[in-house]
Chain length 337, copies 2
DNA sequence: TTGTATGCGTTATCAC
DNA sequence: GTGATAACGCATACAA
């Protein structure tokens, strides 16, 4: 853990000026002999350029931040997994922020962009408040938002269409002959909660099914809370023949509760989820799910940010990822098709 | 995304020198009037200190790196989850490195410490080669290693005792009357693979059970590869009455394979895993697992690094986390005790 | 081709 | 208490 050599050290060792050292290190035209002297001095001393000094000079940090509510959420995890290699390949490091879904915290991250420790930020806010929108607009570095944002906001944006996605699942369930389709949602004051709640109502209407409030329950987007909500729903409406879950974690909780209640899946109750996380495919029975392209959205966001860093002037881009239904045993049984 | 104000801007605005601005911003004794002028100028201009310049001067970045093979591995994920808040509370940002279990990549991370973009590194190497050990010894910033390291290496270290842990599970299975206990391991050239393989042999010996090579199968520490290995093992030794899995992902794969094969868990085959990841508790049946305190190890590593940054001179510390058996349905059935 | 000098934005050491 | 000034390590305009 010795002292770090600097270009000054090397210059002294090689008997040249720091300018020459810098030139050699940056591959600028230099006499062969000088190149050799500098390189061997650098080699001997184990020189590594100081990225902080370089950043101060260049005004670039080669770091990008990603801010999400909770890394343990499989959806965000899938995104990190995709974002990381894209950034790495482009020479950027990843700085991770967990905000615990706290808007204040997210705004804090946006403000901290003024500290210039990253070149840009990818964020996926759960609740888009007016203050958050203002903070995004006032951000001191390029921002890419994953998720819906107000129309007026000029920002690079990756979104999906959970409304259409949820309808795919409802159509599928209805096509299987199910008509009493329960719905378990997450908090209504979150972006996905609000969107999916509305989509459920829309979807039923499109199918000519009545909207029955007793078939709807609200919990949270986690397994345990989802299971609780499913339990409540099942108590109130034991005759449902299908369960649409606002995300896969809720669906996993539902499988558990239904099994305990002695209800067969899918014979008695068909279960569908959303997000298509890995766990959905691995569950038993495997869970039919609406893929919202988490991986794809992560990659797109990273690419959008890289493009933006390359061309600061271009107009804000919006990338939309199309939802896709992945049919598995939880709706069609063990032997599909 | 306007230009960022600097202390020079503020100094001009407030009509004072940059030295005074810096003093006020850092809370050094200053006349009230000056304080006021500076603060209001800073406020009006939306000043945010440049962390890069600050780092260059202070030689501290307030960033810490965490390097692991794959963030999608539940064990590492659990660690990140614990490390992040500890660092955050101490005012550090987290830089994430995924190395894909590539030793060269890990060595690259160690070398990059010379760039001074972080104040320290927490790493969890899968394969501890001689070259890696050298790189750790030569690291230009404090390093905390999670996992076993050679005795001679002077480095802060968090470890656990998977040997004892695995024996806890074997004792438990044996106590349940099982004697043909299969073992499914990960790659033998990894630190955990080697340790757990040896521990299985030891544990059997301690129980007076014979070591039977046909009961041992090697795959990888993932669900799919684990399932494959279990399948092979089951073909070769269909009469096993228990299955010890080198980690929980393998155990989850085992549940799947056993179910397909029509074997009841735990009536026909008791299954135990290792790591006690969240999925183990959520599976069906819930998986008995040896907790190696992933969360605790993550926290300890973060704390060790913070302590080291606070006191560079102290001797290297070793924290050992004691393994603990968590008994669940996969060995004792639905109604424990 | 090479060296000198300056600036990136801060902090800190001096005189005043 | 305050202001000029020198670092921190690097890149570069300019002069030689």
């Amino acid at each position: 853990m010795g002292e770090g050599p600097t270009i000054t050290t090397i210059a002294a060792r090689a008997g040249v000026s720091i300018a020459s050292v810098s030139r050699v290190l940056n591959g600028l035209p230099t006499r062969q002999e000088t190149v050799h002297k500098v390189l061997s001095a650098a080699e001997e001393l184990g020189y590594v350029p100081n990225s902080v000094a370089r950043s101060l000079k260049s005004r670039r940090t080669n770091q990008i931040a990603f801010a999400m509510a909770d890394i343990a959420n499989p959806v965000y995890l899938a995104m990190v997994r995709e974002i990381q290699p894209v950034l790495k390949a482009a020479g950027y490091r990843l700085v991770l922020h967990s905000t615990d879904a706290d808007v204040g915290d997210e705004i804090g991250v946006l403000r901290s962009l003024g500290e210039r420790y990253v070149d840009g930020l990818i964020m996926i806010p759960l609740r888009v408040t007016e203050e958050l929108v203002k903070a995004i607009a006032a951000a001191r570095a390029p921002v890419v938002v994953i998720g819906s944002v107000p129309d007026g906001l000029r920002v690079d944006n990756v979104r999906t269409d959970s409304r259409t996605g949820l309808r795919l699942a409802l159509d599928h369930l209805h096509g299987l002959g199910r008509s009493r389709i329960g719905f378990v949602n997450g908090p209504l004051d979150t972006v996905p909660g609000a969107a999916r709640g509305a989509a459920y109502a829309d979807g039923l209407a499109a199918l000519g099914l009545p909207y029955q409030p007793e078939l709807v329950e609200t919990g949270d987007f986690y397994r345990a809370e989802g299971a609780e909500a499913v339990r409540r729903l099942l108590d109130r409406a034991p005759d449902i023949d299908a369960l649409m879950c606002a995300n896969d974690l809720i669906a996993l909780g539902a499988l558990h509760v239904l099994r305990r209640a002695g209800r067969r899946v899918p014979e008695d109750v068909a279960v569908a989820g959303m997000d298509d996380i890995d766990l959905a495919a691995d569950a038993w029975p495997a869970v039919t799910s609406v893929s919202l392209g988490s991986a794809e959205r992560g990659r797109a966001a990273a690419q959008l940010l890289l493009d933006r860093l390359h061309d600061a002037g271009r107009p804000p881009q919006v990338v939309t990822v199309r939802p896709r239904l992945v049919v598995r045993a939880s709706t069609v049984g063990e032997e599909p098709r």
